[in-house]
Symmetry: C2
């Protein structure tokens, strides 16, 4: 038996255990080949990657060091006694190998893989191998099995209501913060809409990041239930409530490998919606030359996949294909997006019209799920709730209920204007490019960092006129973003 020593070493996302190479308690050499060990004691166990330590600067003989992740996941206190052994690789890795060889897997084989991934029994390398093998070829049945397996792990909400609506966008369009307008409209109407959102993974802001400018989004399940009971809705960060934990692990590998297949997208989104207890979902697929989906044909193929899987899972969907040719709204980055959202809710004269239109369209489709509003009356009802100020009032109540943000966030004070090189018309804005510039400026970590678009596609501009303004909270961030914008601003201006 070895004694646990907590080592404050962060090796996310891997579990790491540290052993002295020479010690009389065991032969560390025998563990070298396998590189993964099973650590167990008092009924708990984890698999961990092994780092061998040559000198006793970290450890005394008889101790095993656990990095932060490993210590937390094992859940035993420092000083507890544990046994170690060579980890047998999870049996489900055999299925991954068959998938690599081009086989189609059975439902229970997929489920076993997902279970082991959620339990952190796979290394990032093994998860990557599984994801790349799936990117090569995946049957609809496999995608269904994966979605179901992912939704079945972790928490699962039950709102005890026949109609729990939700709205989701596949992402990729900067500034497209419609959820924060749709949710208060739907809440004002009276449907139940407990919306959980993610933080940005590769984008300059996620709904959770932007909502956090206005209110607390880090809510417990009890919090969420109390708020939904009173306000019909909530705009919370989903990361706190452990929905589809396998998805979080998969994303930690998809992100660095930039794997973004339709199958993984469908499994990720629908497993989270199912776990969140949604019954009716409006799903937004923006299409554009620099969006995630580049053509109408692709969009239709993705829609069919979503519809098929959702149908098998008993989730009612209304999947809309929308214009994703340029960013939506003017602000990109948490503070600037929150400003746009509130301007729309307040019916300000200078509120971005495209954000308002897009949000109203989606809110209308969500309201169409209400049996009392048959015949496409949802859109008119959404307009009415926005124009009357009822949606704004609902948003204010949500902010109060979740806890109004006490820190005042302003747009970053370090500012740089990106100007037109010649007279002409804006003919295109590259979504990926402006998103990357906003991220380099510091978004979403620096809430006030980002980009404020001053002209959109179709606008006439003169040479030297400002196309957009970069905001940063540090000179370094501004420098990074400015340099990238100087290479290529993301704007096309044509005479």
């Amino acid at each position: 038996m070895l004694t646990i020593k907590r080592l404050a070493i962060d090796t996310y996302p891997e579990n790491t255990a540290f052993l002295l190479r020479r010690s009389n308690g065991y032969s560390a050499e025998q563990f070298q080949a396998l590189r993964k060990i099973r650590v167990s004691g008092e009924g708990a166990e984890i698999l961990a990657s092994l780092a061998l330590v040559d000198e006793s600067l970290l450890l005394k003989p008889g101790e095993i060091g656990l990095g932060e992740q490993a210590f937390r996941r094992l859940g035993l206190p420092e000083g507890a006694q544990v046994a170690i052994e060579q980890a047998r690789p999870p049996a489900s890795l055999e299925y991954v190998r068959r998938k690599i060889d081009g086989d189609t897997l059975e439902d229970d084989e997929i489920a076993a893989i997902i279970r082991d991934i959620a339990a952190h029994r796979y290394s990032p390398m093994e998860i990557g191998a599984f994801l790349v093998a799936c990117a090569g070829f995946m049957t609809t049945q496999e995608t269904l099995a994966m979605t179901r397996a992912m939704a079945g792990l972790g928490n699962r909400f039950d709102w005890k209501a026949p109609l729990v609506v939700d709205k989701h966008c596949i992402g990729g369009i900067p500034g497209n913060r419609t959820s924060m307008i749709v949710v208060p409209i739907v809440a004002a109407h009276g449907l139940i809409m407990p919306k959980t959102s993610s933080r940005a993974i590769t984008s300059p802001s996620g709904t959770a990041d932007t909502m956090e400018v206005l209110a607390n989004v880090d809510l417990s399940e009890d919090n969420m239930r109390a708020i939904v009971a009173r306000e019909k809705a909530v705009l919370a960060w989903g990361g706190r409530v452990n929905l589809s934990p396998a998805d979080d692990v998969l994303i930690s590998v998809e992100r660095p490998l930039r794997i973004d297949t339709f199958d993984q997208m469908v499994a990720s989104i629908l497993s989270k919606k199912l776990a969140a207890g949604s019954t009716h979902l409006v799903l937004d697929i923006p299409v554009g030359p620099t969006a995630k989906v580049r053509s109408q044909e692709e969009a239709v193929r993705l829609r069919k996949l979503f519809e098929h899987i959702a149908d098998k899972l008993g989730l009612v969907t209304d999947i809309v294909i929308t214009d994703g040719s340029q960013p939506v709204g003017n602000g990109i980055g948490p503070v600037l997006e929150a400003r746009d959202v509130m301007a729309v809710l307040r019916n300000d004269a200078d509120a971005p019209q495209d954000l308002r239109d897009h949000a109203l369209f989606l809110a209308g489709r969500v309201l169409d799920f209400d049996p009392a509003l048959r015949g496409g009356r949802g859109y008119a009802r959404a307009m009415e709730l926005l124009a009357s100020g009822e949606a704004l009032a609902a948003m204010e109540r949500l902010i109060e209920a979740q806890g109004r943000q006490e820190i005042r966030h302003d747009p970053g004070a370090h500012v740089h204007e990106v100007r037109a090189g010649e007279d002409g018309r804006v003919t295109a804005i590259n979504c990926q490019r402006v998103a990357r510039i906003a991220r380099l400026a510091g978004a979403p970590m620096d809430k006030g960092a980002g980009i404020d678009l001053l002209h959109k596609v179709g606008a006439q501009v003169r040479k030297g006129q400002s196309l957009y303004r970069i905001h940063a909270q540090s000179a370094t961030g501004l420098g990074f973003a400015r340099d990238l914008a100087a290479e290529d601003s993301g704007y096309e201006v044509t005479r």
Copy 2:
């Protein structure tokens, strides 16, 4: 600038750098997201995975800790000053992503990937993603580009001779130690045959492991050249002389993921042969129900791929498809195999006939490359050299030249007999099963561990008669192997 501190922490195969999370020299938080940093100073640089350390038990402010791999690969002394920055992912990762998406890559794109892999710029996760994407689909042109790129890195031998022969088996058949018989026969004839071999990766022994029972195999390039100049041949471990270093990195990921595609096999083998300076190669593809290649059709497909790629690379090949239905020879494991090899070379009456036949067949094919032996006279010449003792004498000279092994290795003293459960005939021996049992007994690390087959396919056995003997150097090893053999001995005995 940060000061290097060497941390005796082994995180093979990754480079790991350790930074204090809070320090005034830099903001570690900014490095968290990317997880990979570039460490540079005095003209040297490496990429390393980042581990963040919360307390200063390892590091003082202003220090950067480097694990063993990172310290060695950077090559700077402790106390040297280095700068760090977020690592830009290698540009070639963009090609990997395209490969994942199903694209075919250009020669220079493949070359860029291989170069970055050999330079340790990829994480195991990224290497795994590349390999799995290649396992999904690879054109012959891509395999050729990969082989050429692999052979072009690291060392490359030039023996200044028009005919440099070589012999290679794709592996998978336990006990099949023909190279140690073929090389002395060919050397006795007078052709140049500088044979580099690998150690076992997943098998109970590689040629380098078995040869090491008799002689030193860890030879420098100068050593090898001197021995070849005098003896025409050598039987050395290839790991010392840095041939196709990308292959070694790829194997470190292929092994745990158990990726063993034809494309990778061809690229791995031919890149090493090309780098080793071989001009003429006999390649052995054993086929059998438990071999690497399971059917004649597969074998022919593999042969065609080998021929095509070798041809483009200017390597003359003679590719033979042989019987891989059961182990070759009696011993499995370094000491037991060395015993069999020497018995054949000495023309002992009880030398394993199948090993002798197989080696003679291959030696004949190698000798057929000699223009002086046209018309298939190679086989007769090989028999002559073996029967006359000239091959044995050549082997003894090689052993002396390389350095006779001073440690006397005997078969492991812990012995267990695996017995027939009933009367009958041996109808099959599972190569993978007996290999695994031999490995659990301790081979190849314990030189004397392994299996001694007492009956081969076709033999009549009586109930209780010993089928094979397990040798181990420790009671633990014997226990592991005995337990596995009790589950399934790997022998099929039919009435």
